[in-house]
Structures are given as structure tokens and as C-alpha cells.
Symmetry: C2
């Protein structure tokens, strides 16, 4: 870590060693059809294929595997709309720790079911009226359990950074220079980790965030140079990305490593999910499709450029996918 | 080729050189959830991610790229329910040849639309009453065009063999010994190519075919030691695998390289498609899901074994996927 206690390449490489044999080294995919449509070379990082169906397992396992022996038996507590929930639950199961996850009552059913499937206890709360963090902290205090924050934590960020580490290594193995990486962004953990890896390994690569429209706190904060919250944000079906404001630690990193950010509408995301289904043959959830949406909607011009994008999660309810496909 | 004019490893390696930079080197994926469910190590070869959404591009491009200069301008003609159609159309477009494809009137709409999207002319016929081969031959004779058969051709088989070549190379790179490979089987081209590669590179690996129930002509032919046709086969939604009998050339190869075959019901295939969607996050069409179905339905016991399976195609109509998801 550097003088500001921010994780660096060394912490990301250490996380990669911890994750070896536990996390999936997801491939870097290329679609001739997508390249032809956009006139560039697009490298897809499908964290949909990661254990638990999103990148969140990386950070969770990196954090949990470093828990003090004395704290392990009391277990862990997390709050999450679903992907961090599954990541923590699966990591806890692998490590033999009890896990309790505080999830909103409107979380996608597949995410709740999977979290329970990994052996975690799920505590439900109302997204609009209750404070999930307070609920989690009360449970943790009562049990002596350890809170596993979704993004504002150096070990979580270093774990997510292994995604960026792989992107850089895999692009290099293909002999490609990355002009840009577009990262699906909620609280900013994946961006911070990926951006840190990219700045170290491929310093000329520009890193951009992509967020749902009205939830583009990170993009606006990057432009303003300070953390800004979303004021009266609209509803969005990108449940994985609905953070009210950037994390303290993640923003401190992202203002150094990210060049800027984009926002996409739910309609643009729906179109990207359909494109992923029909042409890429990949199942992507709304929050995992925003980077692809930014390319398809022309928010970022990939022509004659080599651009990596994260498909950060694939935990979409079958009912939602069926509806999106029917609307086409 | 050996004395019987059967393609061997040298022809498959030559095909791989022709396909370099044209076909996608699809990854060999592993799912912790699937491994845990089956108690073995399952390596997924997702040809769903191949150019045109199925392995068929491999054979088609290998065949078309070797056409005599004199025959190129007259173009090519193929008959196919859709995946060979798209493979030939895309290969012809890349090589600048005109292509005409004879397709059944009940072919999945996505396959017809994509074939036209690659610039091919589509001629429709009735699956029950018309002879697609005769129609294609009449068109070819009239135009001086070259027929590109779907499987019974050494160059097609060698092209499909690059899929098996990659499976063997990728498994070896992972330090894994393959106990078995399960191949989705229609006319037998992918099995013949993959089996030839496996016999050369990993001779102890057993290769099995998987076919739709009632359309298991290859399994029964392998057991009988001679080509047997399907008598009064039932309807099946595995449109890509509805061959009436094994090819002459493909069976001559498969009786040497395949250990046997399995059959799966449409219900088992539907369950495999849903599993691929929900857990693997991959879009797989019915014919591409039969190998996965054989594992999930317990037709082949993968416990404590390392088994590669082909997910040979992903061109499923969105309406069908929506219906399958709704039925769950």
C-alpha cells in the first residue's frame, strides 16, 4: 500500500495468489460481430462466468481469507442487493465461516435464492425506509461478527483488482494495447481495483466508469473533483449499481485512476442485454450490461480503438430476461 | 489423409492455420457450481461463442477457403436447418463468394435472419415433403456453383476437428488429463473431427456422441457396427441434430474414434438449457445442450472424472428461451 493506505499492484497480485484455484480466471472474449458493428476491437471480460456469477467473489474471498483466526468463528455480516451477498456467502462457505447477509426486500429472487444456497442466513430490509448498514452493524455487534463492506475496503478493492490484472495480462498475451477499459460502476470498487492494476501495468490505458442514468455519482464526482451524491435519483433496474455516492476510499483511488464516466438509460441497458443474448450468447444482468450499453449507444466511440469492457454480473431473474426478450 | 482418404491430425492442423484470425479460439470454461453438482471436473467448450454462434463456421471456412479460383465466382450452395447455413454464409462473405442456402421453412427465425444477414440468398423448402439435397443440387447445377455438404466431406470434418484440437491443447495447458469428451452429434462431423484430434493427441480419452432421443442413429450404428437410420423418429426441438442417419464418411471415422453414444429427451435438453442460462450464464440452443443434458440427467457419470463437453451452438430463438424460462 502507498502512503495513503491505498492498495497497489502488490496487494492485487497478493489477492490473485489467494484467489488461485478458488476464483475462475474468466477469459477475455472477442466477438467478430461486435467488432464489426463498432469498428474497433472490443475485449469482453465476462465476470458473468465468475464463481457466483459476478466479480464480487474476488473481493469477498480476498477479504475473508485474511480474517484473524480469532474472528472466524463469529462469522461475517454483509449488506448487498445481491452480488456482494453471493460473493460473501460463497467465500464464507468455502472457508467454513457462518455468514449473514442483509438484503433489500426487492432484490432479484435469483440473488436471494443463490445467497441462501451458499449457506448464508438472509435478513430482509425495506430499501426505501430502512438503513441496511445500521441493521448489519447491529447484527455484527450482537454476534461479534465482522462486517464485510461491499466496496470501501482495501482488501475488497484489491480483490476486485484481480479482474483488471487479468484484463491487462490477457490483452498483453494477445499482443494488444488497450486504449481504454470501461468498467460497470456502483460504489466504485471494481473501478478502483481495475484502475489501479491498469495504471501500473498499462499506464496509457484510459479507465472510464459506466453508471445508470441518474445514478452517475461517480462520473459527476470525477468531473467535479469531489464526492457528490445522487439527488433524487430515478428508479432503475440496474439493482447492482444503485449506490447513492462514491465510497470514500474508492473515490480517493478513482480520482487518480479514472479518466471520467458515462451514464446509460435503462432502455439502453435493456438493448445491451438483448444484444448480449442474441449475438454474444451471454447472459448479462442489467448492472453488468452498462459498459456494453455505453458502446452500443455510442456514448463511447470505439472506432479504430481497442477497448476492454467488464460484463460484471449475470444474475438476472429469468422472468426479467423473458420480458426483455418479448419486448424486442 | 490416411489410405482411406480420412482426414487426420495433419489436415486438422492445416485447417487450424487457415482458420487463424478468422474463427474464434473459444475458451475452455469451468464452472465451480457444475463441478460441485456432478462431483467431477467438467470442461465446457462453448462454440456458442464461435463466429456465427456455432462450430459450423470452422468446417465451412476450411472448405470454402480451399475452393479453386475457377469455381469461386459461381459461388457455393448449402442445405441446412441453420447453423451450417450461417457458417457457410459467413465464410462466403469473408471470402467474397456468393452463397445460396436451402433451409427448411420451420428453421428457427434467428437462423434464417442471421444467414440473410451474412449476405446469403435463402431458398425455403418443406422439411416433410421436399428433398433439400435435390433442391441444392439443382441450384448448383444451374449456376455451376459448388455444393458445401454439412458433414460428409473431409475438409468440413477437418475444420470441425479444430474444435477438438483446441479442447486437447487447452486441457493440456491446464495440466488436465481428459477421461472423456461428449460431443453433440447430428450427422457426425463434429464428432469425427474432434474424435480424430483426440485419438491423435490424447489416445486414452474416450469420445462419446450425444443425440436427441429417437434420433440416436449414430449411437445405435456404433453399437451395431454399421450405419442404421432412424425409423419413424419423433419430433424434437433439437433442430440442429435431426440427421436421418450417420454420414458415410463420418461414420467410417466415428466407428474408429467413438466409444459409444447416448440419447437425451427434449425435457432433459430443456432442463440443460435452463441450467446453462441460470447457472452457467450461457445461451445454448437445444442441439447445443444435449451433452450438458447427458451429464445433468446422469446418462454419463462424471464423478471423479475429467470430462469435456461441447456446447456446440447458441442460436436459439428468443421466444423459445422465454418459454423455457417461463416453464421452470
Amino acid at each position: 500500500m502507498d502512503s495513503l493506505n491505498l492498495p497497489g499492484l502488490a496487494e492485487i497480485e497478493a489477492a490473485a495468489r489467494r484467489l488461485a484455484g478458488r476464483a475462475v480466471v474468466t477469459p477475455l472474449l472477442e466477438s467478430p460481430a461486435l467488432n464489426a458493428r463498432l469498428g474497433g476491437r472490443i475485449l469482453l471480460k465476462p465476470e458473468t462466468l465468475q464463481r457466483t456469477g459476478s466479480f464480487k467473489f474476488r473481493g469477498a474471498y480476498n477479504r475473508l481469507s485474511q480474517l484473524d483466526e480469532a474472528r472466524r468463528s463469529a462469522g461475517v455480516v454483509a449488506y448487498s442487493s445481491g452480488n456482494h451477498a453471493q460473493g460473501v456467502a460463497a467465500a464464507a462457505q468455502l472457508l467454513g465461516l457462518p455468514a449473514t447477509i442483509v438484503m433489500p426486500s426487492d432484490a432479484p429472487r435469483i440473488k436471494v435464492a443463490n445467497t441462501q444456497g451458499y449457506g448464508a442466513e438472509v435478513v430482509s430490509y425495506e430499501r426505501g425506509t430502512e438503513d441496511r448498514k445500521a441493521i448489519a452493524e447491529a447484527i455484527a455487534a450482537e454476534r461479534g461478527a465482522t462486517i464485510v463492506p461491499p466496496y470501501d475496503d482495501p482488501d475488497i478493492i484489491a480483490g476486485q483488482g484481480t479482474c483488471g490484472l487479468e484484463i491487462c495480462q490477457q490483452a498483453e498475451a494477445l499482443g494488444l494495447h488497450l486504449d481504454a477499459i470501461l468498467v460497470c460502476c456502483g460504489g466504485g470498487g471494481l473501478t478502483a481495483g481495475t484502475g489501479t492494476a491498469a495504471r501500473a501495468l498499462s499506464p496509457e490505458t484510459e479507465v472510464y466508469t459506466v453508471e445508470p442514468a441518474g445514478w452517475d455519482d461517480t462520473a459527476r464526482s470525477l468531473a467535479a473533483g469531489q464526492r457528490l451524491a445522487n439527488e433524487a435519483p430515478p428508479t432503475s433496474f440496474c439493482d447492482a449499481l444503485l449506490a447513492k455516492e462514491p465510497g470514500v476510499l474508492t473515490f480517493d483511488i478513482n480520482r487518480r485512476v479514472a479518466a471520467g464516466g458515462f451514464a446509460v438509460s435503462d432502455d439502453e441497458v435493456a438493448e445491451a442485454i438483448r444484444y448480449a443474448f442474441t449475438t454474444l450468447k451471454l447472459v448479462v444482468e442489467p448492472g453488468g450490461a452498462v459498459s456494453l450499453a455505453a458502446l452500443l449507444a455510442g456514448r463511447f466511440d470505439a472506432r479504430d480503438r481497442c477497448v476492454a469492457i467488464t460484463l460484471s454480473g449475470g444474475n438476472i431473474d429469468p422472468e426479467l430476461m423473458a420480458r426483455l426478450l418479448a419486448e424486442a
